[in-house]
Amino acid sequence: MGARYEAVQWNKNKKVYDFFLIAAIVVYLTAFIISGALTRAGDQAISPAILLIRAFGSCAFILLTLILMIGPLARLSSFFLPILYNRRHLGVATFVIALIHAIIVVFWYHGFGELNPFVSVLISNDRFDSVSQFPFEVFGVVALTILFLMAATSHDFWLANLSARTWKNLHMLVYIAYAALALHVGLGFLQSEQASFYTVLVYSSVGTVIAMHLITGFREWRRDGKSIWIGKGGADWVYVANVKELRDGRAKVVGLGTGEKVAIWRNDNKISATSNVCAHQGGPLGEGRIIDDCITCPWHGFQYDPANGRSPPPYTEKIETFELRLEEDALFIDPKPRAPGTPVDPLVIKEN
């Protein structure tokens, strides 16, 4: 980042996002607890602590499922882009909810004996040789540790100081966390009285996440197959789009066949082309929108001026820009990128 670090770079969108996120979590927890208390009265009643454990545990699982679904969903439909926008806060919220679940578990099940509660967690179940009795808590510990590391290193400070590669690898552990969480919740339900229904629910969520990733991966692979092939020696000007197909405030993403993707933007009557890769964490800029005349990354909201690929001051991020040429309605691009931050005059088109 180009500016002095702050805890959170708040803007109105992030505040609205967090408001809805917290409200949804509160509504879910309240509904879970009230319905649990009402449906399990009399002989069936369970203690408030267990109800809380289940409410927070299931909430964390749902949130992590959502986190892994919104990437593919946003690729399938721009309708889901607003949820993608502040995924970082969604991740931190998931960790906090999972942590509350773990704290209640440790104190409720292990806090009243003579043993240190954490020692008690480790030795209370040693049936590693049994599926139906397997100490599923182990998977919960693995998932919570990864969620902690991801939440604790989610600030841009870590991206700059761990190196982009290490940071990315660390955050790819989210898939391991999800697998561990699915095993934790799945085995937990298997060992409880509610086995079948919830176990099916958990594994169908996992199946949906995997299917969504496969579908979008396949679509992307097919789209890349349709990229303009400029060959090794390059090409001068290549056709990229009919200007009429560009939607205001959005981009058309075109692959150059060299692995590079370009986003062609329309902002009112101006057309510009930039790299599709965000300078922050490589987010897909072309899946974002133009907000306040700036390209806005769908992942964490970094912004760039389409005319020069630079983040508005005081930020200093830059992305590559491209020259465009218009012949009638046909739009051509010079596939050689200009250095990041190079101004390129936008093409001005006549209003329809």
């Binding site: 002095r4 670090y5 480790l122 030795i123 600030h155 700059a160 100081n161």
Partner: protein
């Protein structure tokens, strides 16, 4: 720790307990050292490692403490080397 492994197959409860205590103590010690270092780092060292952190807000400093406490050996090395991030 190594001397405890041979007794694992016999699955002695006392040995399990000893290993569990060792793990909990080990992790506890690591994180306690990390936490103390993290507080110093967040308020004194972070500006040397990353120039954008000079004059950073209090919220930012508090926010990085958990991560530094967990990854402190890495940050100790960075601080000693005075490595600047761009």
């Amino acid at each position: 720790m190594a001397c405890l492994w041979p007794s694992l197959p016999s699955h002695d409860k006392n040995d399990d307990m000893a290993i569990a205590e060792l793990i909990v103590q080990g992790v506890g010690t690591y994180l306690t050292i990390g936490l103390i270092f993290a507080v110093f780092f967040a308020f004194a060292g972070v500006g040397r490692v990353d120039s954008h952190a000079k004059g950073a807000t209090l919220g930012f400093r508090v926010l990085i403490i958990p991560g530094v406490a967990a990854l402190w050996p890495m940050m100790v090395v960075k601080w000693l080397m005075g490595k600047k991030a761009s």
